[in-house]
């Protein structure tokens, strides 16, 4: 660094020449030098201060940011993820409308083997067969002595079995963690729940997936971890489901029927309170899908939802309802007819002729085909079509089950006069018992369409109007008379004022045209109490037949109606319905 001299010779000489003191020059230069040093120091400390300030600013900002993060974050239990590991992997429970468990999970283990590290294959096989007698000894030995490194032995084992396997002391026998879907009620509500199975199986675990029913249709919902195991609540009532299943199974046995189904539905909310299809199956041991033959022969087949049948005379109610709603007739209108008539070019005949004249109410009560056909001809094709469509009989129902969404009613491709006449008394249009329950609910609840649901609801959900309030009232009275003194007298239950309509439809011949009068589907669509309907009950038997004094009884009045009555007798008290005498009936009370 070049230092400027404090006493530069040129300046000294210059000052001396002028007769001044050269020390002033020195002092001046010293002060100049000091001030420049001060300037430098000042600048240096200023930059240090700036740097320090910056550091503090960064430090404080970091603290501020951290505090903000802490303040704005959700308060959470520390290590909560630790405790919920198991809960998160769990599939939600399914409960009934009163909170009873229908489906839940248990932790269990799967047994697998690593043949490469098995020490004594012979002993291991012997011991394993002792614990699991269903395993084949010779096959197991071949597999355990092979050069594989992984082999499934059992998918689910109990804690006792696990301990027994531990006791073998074989290092090559290993356990995989498993969650097991458990249905404590066994076969109860089997078609509603559907059942579950494993997917993506590995040694560490496996996914449980729904195979059918609610388990399949709500699969994503049940597996959603963000719901923290909140259960899925169905509209089903466990006790009512059990009572219905028991009575229906007894009925099916007695009648020698191939199958049976029943649906109890709330007429105002569309909630399915109970839905039974027999034969059923044990959900904990779900049978395999039928590989060949008629799928309806499998116990997995849900007759109530998937069974699409021509339901016969139960359709007469729809014809009468439309005729009444259009004010073409009233319940007292007398209609003349013969045993066999040609109506709109179609020959119609009555098996049990009740003519020559009947009121509209009696046509339904006595279930006359000819009378109904006359009503249909008055209603006309377009009205009939639009009415049946408005009742939801043309489309799959909106019930939250995969099976229901896939089942489309069978409707004629071309709606001719022939179709109009036959459909008026229930032939030529095939629907499921669930469709029938929905349609009857809509007719008797005051005339509003309901959508069926399997989930519990708390509010009424009435849809668009299908018939007027007056027509609904008239239909209720007519259907009540069917039970009181018509074709369904065996459907009467004292105190519950049951109303309903029977239907016995012959099944189509297998591999030939025409109908088979030996094989019928007998159905009873009922509702109770008839003065203020709360529930609809549809009972249907597939090929029932029993004999009274050598006479074969297949009609619904003899088969479905008495079973339905027994069901109502059992479930009405469970539904909190109090038996009440009707206006014109007196009940003897002691």
């Amino acid at each position: 660094m070049v230092r400027i001299p404090l006493r530069p010779l040129a300046q000294i000489l210059y000052f001396r020449g002028k007769g001044l003191d050269p020390d002033i020059v020195e002092r001046h230069n010293i002060s100049k030098r000091h001030s420049s040093i001060e300037d430098q120091n000042w600048q240096r400390s200023e930059s240090r201060l700036f740097f320090m300030g910056l550091l503090f600013l960064i430090g404080f900002s970091l603290i501020c940011v951290r505090m903000t993060v802490l303040a704005s974050s959700q308060t959470a239990e520390p290590f909560s993820e630790f405790s919920s590991v198991k809960a998160i992997t769990q599939r939600s429970n399914i409960i009934d409308r009163n909170g009873n468990i229908l489906a839940t999970n248990l932790f269990t283990n799967a047994l697998y083997a690593n043949p490469k590290i098995i020490l004594q294959p012979n002993r291991a096989v012997k011991e394993l067969v002792r614990i699991f007698p269903e395993l084949s000894e010779s096959r197991l030995l071949t597999e355990l002595t092979s050069d594989k490194s992984f082999l499934w032995l059992k998918k689910k084992i109990s804690p006792e079995q696990q301990q027994a396997v531990h006791d073998i002391g074989e290092p090559g026998l290993l356990f995989g963690h498993r969650e097991l879907r458990v249905y404590p009620n066994g076969s109860l509500a089997s078609h509603i729940l559907g059942g579950a199975g494993f997917n993506n199986e590995s040694a560490v675990g496996a996914d449980i997936v729904g195979r059918a029913g609610v388990e399949a249709s709500f699969d994503q919902f049940l597996r959603d971890p963000s719901r923290h195991g909140e259960p899925l609540q169905l509209s089903i009532d466990l006790s009512i489901q059990a009572a219905t299943e028991r009575v229906l199974a007894g009925g099916m046995d007695l009648l020698g029927a191939k199958g049976a189904s029943s649906i109890v539905m709330d007429v105002k909310t569309g909630e399915v309170i109970s839905m039974v299809s027999l034969p059923n199956f044990d959900l904990n041991r779900r049978p395999g899908v039928l590989k060949s033959g008629d799928p309806s022969n499998s116990p997995l087949f849900n007759r109530a939802v998937q069974g699409v049948y021509e339901l016969g005379s139960t359709f007469k109610t729809f014809t009468a309802a439309k005729a009444l709603d259009l004010e073409l007739v009233n319940p007292e209108t007398v209609i003349d007819f013969e045993r066999k008539m040609i109506i709109s070019g179609v020959t119609v005949r009555d098996e049990h002729y009740a003519g020559p004249s009947l009121t509209v109410a009696d046509i339904i009560s006595k279930s006359s085909n000819v009378g109904t056909a006359i009503l249909a001809s008055k209603v006309g094709i377009e009205n009939q079509k639009s009415f049946l469509e408005s009742l939801g009989l043309f489309h799959p129902t909106t019930l939250e089950m995969t099976e229901a969404r896939n089942i489309k009613p069978l409707i004629p491709a071309k709606w001719t006069d022939m179709s109009m006449i036959t459909i008026s008394y229930g032939y030529g249009l095939s629907v499921s018992p669930l469709h029938l329950a929905v349609a009857y609910s809509s007719l008797v609840n005051g005339g509003n369409k309901v959508e069926p649901t399997i989930l519990k609801k708390t509010t009424e959900s009435l849809g668009s109007r299908v018939i007027s309030e007056t027509t609904s009232h008239q239909i209720r009275k007519i259907l009540r008379s069917v039970v009181r003194d018509g074709t369904a007298t065996l459907g009467e239950v004292e105190g519950y004022s049951v109303g309903g309509k029977t239907g016995t439809a012959e099944k189509q011949k297998i591999g030939a045209a025409g109908y088979d009068d030996d094989r019928v589907v007998s159905t009873f669509a009922s509702f109770f109490p008839s003065n203020d309907p709360r529930y609809v009950l549809v009972v249907s038997f597939d090929e029932p037949s029993y004999r009274i004094e050598k006479e074969s009884k297949r009609t619904a009045g003899w088969t479905a109606a008495p079973v339905a009555a027994e069901i109502i007798r059992r479930i009405a008290p469970l539904l909190n319905l109090w038996p009440t005498p009707e206006d014109n009936e007196t009940v003897q009370l002691k």
């Binding site: 290590f79 404590p184 008290p573």
Partner: protein
Amino acid sequence: MRLLAYVFSVTFVMLTGFWANYENVKTLEVSQSIKKTQAEMSDVKETLNVLTVEWAYLNRPERLQNLANLNYKSLGLLPISSNQMKSISSIDFEAIRVSLK
């Protein structure tokens, strides 16, 4: 004066350091015990789940029905039916009183 300030600040730093360490140890202890409790809770939850399943299994309608049938002699339980339901006004209390006397 300056010495006093030094002594004071050094003591302060030591005390705060001690306090911080103490809090740290305490927090770790608590977190350990929470982990333990959580593990216990998890086990208890599993047990509870098993018991719930067992309870549901023991209360399944089919079993209750069978039990009612088995003990019909002593309990005389029958399915509930509409003719068992009567209004209070229909009960003849006077007759009952007479029969009890």
